[in-house]
Amino acid sequence: MTKSKAAFLFASKTLGQQGLFLWTFTFKDLLAVKETRKRWNYLLTLLLRAWPNLQGLRVFELHQEHGLHVHLLTNQFIDVNRARDLAEQAGWGRVHVTRIPKEHAGYLAKYLSKERPECLKRWRLWAGFGAGWEWTRVKDVIRETLFSRIYRACKEWKQWQGRDRFFERMDLTRQMMLLTIENGWQIGCGPNGLPYSSFEEEDFWFDF
């Protein structure tokens, strides 16, 4: 699971405290992804103008044959016919909506598990919208794994700051993780429970 997907699941939980509606917006014709995004921005503007209290989450899905689909999770019942009119005005084709139980709020996360297509690099695959609610951002999520805990210990030891020498940091953290597993060390400590700083870094590049 990626951090982004985890953030989406947290956000959908927050949204899912109320009744939820799942929307899918598609086109009759196949459109380029950039054009689709433009039309989505226009449609969202129209929707928020019509329903200023509308809150939700949007997910992009690049369909194998039908181009970019937009899925929405909203927490408010809105008039489907009116929404269809607005979708038509913004150049959209089919609109499908269904009510879902709050336990299924994370359903759209399955689209975030797909491998990201080249054309969606640097795109936000999902985003929240609407005023009056705070959706979880990726920066709000902390990953808790053996690797991340060892990374934090290494960061303290080496006084890492900023983002420079990223790959060297990864290599050192990985080496420490392998040694921790192999020798059964306490997480974040070297042999005999001593802090990493009690040793020279070179010592860790040889087998214990």
Binding site: A6, L9, F10, T136, V141, R143, E144, L146, E182
Partner: protein
């Protein structure tokens, strides 16, 4: 599992990596929401093996998600350090020379040498 059985699986197209087990670690991995304190966790086991999957003998990591277990302390890992095991991979990643594989429900399977395989189980008659 014998070498012949592994060869059979490989010939069928199964993705298998065989390596000497160097260590295991069960952990509760996941994500924490810094703002609300909520967590999404799962139990994951890391197997550290030594193998030549990249051409030279090196250490590689294979992970396994444990479903239906919430406490990593409850994970039973009856594996012996220094023994050869086969890992039936669901997928793997090679990034900057680092091999990371992942397996499904099927855990590591010990490899029996020809001599071990030839030893008949208790109560059975020895092979001719």
């Amino acid at each position: 599992m014998t070498e012949a059985e592994i060869t059979k699986e490989v010939m069928r197209g199964r993705l298998v990596v065989v390596g000497e087990l160097r260590g295991t670690h069960a952990e509760s991995a996941g994500y924490v929401n810094r703002r609300t304190g909520e967590a999404i966790t799962y139990v994951r086991v890391i197997y550290l093996i030594e193998c030549a999957c990249r051409g030279m003998l090196d250490r590689a990591v294979v992970t396994q998600k444990w479903i239906d277990v919430e406490d990593p302390e409850l994970v039973n890992l009856p594996y012996e350090k220094g023994k050869l095991y086969a890992f039936f991979l669901e997928g793997f990643r090679l990034e900057r020379g680092v091999f990371t594989g992942w397996i499904g429900d099927r855990g590591p399977e010990p490899i029996k040498t020809d001599e071990e395989a030839a030893v008949a189980p208790e109560g059975a008659t020895a092979a001719p």
